[in-house]
Amino acid sequence: MANIIIQKPVSFGKTRSEQEENMRKEWGQTVTDEQLDKIKFLEKRAKEKVGSSKNFFTPVDADKVK
């Protein structure tokens, strides 16, 4: 009898903020705390406006939020 192992794909997070929070548990940071807050805000707005839950905002986008 052969066993079939279905391996779950490796995922580090489907948004920049999820990846950032995972990265901070590992190696360090890639954006400031303030930029991370703003990226979360952008992700929330993107989900509300277009239903996209998988996206990747950069610090350039974050710094546009005032």
Binding site: V10, F12, G13, K14, R16, Q19, M23, E26, W27, G28, Q29, T30, V31, T32, F41, L42, R45, A46, S52, K54, N55, F56, F57, T58, P59, V60, D61, K64, V65, K66
Partner: protein
């Protein structure tokens, strides 16, 4: 609502624009120059690649590569460096390479790429569209031969096989004595980048080189924001900080600092029909005049380049074209 000349256009806190991509298939890759191994798959921090190029080779389009800062040298005089030339092939479109800093968000303390001491070599040589580089120092100051520069966003007419200057973004990086070269193209962002001449002169700093004959078309939508162009230590560098040759439209140069005027160059040299604006910039000179032609420290070229809210050490340098 516009807050110009701060320049941010927003409506109720919602910024213009959006995410770079929203691909559900994107994969994160990891590079650890100290503990990594190129034989690993690179898909987790504990199975990281050792070199950036190995991760780029393994990655597909729209993927993200995180690069860990290497451990410092034993005398702690300098962070460890990745010494390699990274080539990003055409099929790797919308690839992101992001440096991870251990404590503070400063590119000097993040990963450093030392351009190999080889003639005509580049640190990052990119021919794919949508390239994104973040939190990196690319250094050339302690090498003896003449590598070409730090980052080359290369394109060709028609963009069929080379499109590095389409939609690229270079963010929060330090280019230490190595130029950023952009060959025509469109919609490239240079944001929060320090062009540092302090030890060794750049050949140029920001080099948009697209001659009218044989140039890459179209050429528009370039943005340079929150950048610092630094001279040598208390002395003038040799070469021009921003060199723009071509006919390009929709150019934005804003919120930048220009250090001591170069000895054999200018703060900004524009040769061609370039339209756009130069806003909220500071020039460390007592005579930062601007004009369409040669003879001034800021040469704006033949196009309609608006000057808004810029200053030198004596005050506002005027607003006009």
């Amino acid at each position: 609502m516009s807050t110009f000349p701060d320049g941010v256009f927003q409506y109720g806190g919602e910024p213009v624009g959006g995410a770079r991509y929203s691909s559900p298939w994107a994969t994160a890759y990891f590079v650890d120059g100290t503990n990594g191994y190129d034989g690993f798959d690179g898909k987790g921090p504990t199975t990281a690649k050792k070199t950036i190029q190995a991760a780029v080779t393994a990655a597909g389009y729209q993927d993200v590569i995180y690069v860990r800062a290497k451990r410092p040298q034993t005398d702690a005089s300098d962070p460890g460096v990745y010494t390699e030339s990274v080539n990003v092939a055409y099929a790797k479109d919308n690839l992101s390479i992001i440096g991870v800093t251990p404590h503070v968000l400063d590119p000097y303390y993040g990963p450093k790429l030392l351009v190999p001491d080889v003639v005509s070599e580049w640190g990052f040589h990119v021919i794919s569209p949508g390239f994104h580089l973040e939190n990196f120092t690319v250094q050339m100051w302690d090498i003896t031969t003449t590598p070409a520069g730090a980052v080359f966003l290369e394109s060709e007419s028609g963009f069929a096989a080379k499109a590095g200057s389409v939609g690229a973004s270079i963010v929060n990086c330090m280019l230490w004595s190595g130029q950023l070269r952009i060959d025509g193209g469109y919609d490239c962002t240079t944001y929060g980048v320090t062009f540092n001449n302090m030890v060794k002169d750049n050949t140029l700093g920001y080099n948009f080189s697209c001659p009218s004959t044989g140039g890459i078309n179209p050429q528009w939508g370039m943005k340079v924001q929150n950048c610092a162009f630094l001279g040598k230590h208390a002395a003038a560098p040799t070469n021009t900080y921003m060199y723009i040759q071509g006919s390009a439209w929709g150019w934005q140069i804003r919120d930048c600092y220009f250090d001591i005027v170069p000895a054999s160059g200018q703060f900004i040299y524009i040769n061609g029909d370039v339209d756009g604006f130069l806003a909220n910039c500071y020039f460390n000179s007592a005579n930062a005049t601007y004009a369409a032609g040669a003879g001034s420290e800021i040469q704006l070229g033949a196009g309609v380049m608006k000057v808004v809210g810029c200053h030198d050490v004596t005050g506002e340098i005027g607003s006009g074209t």
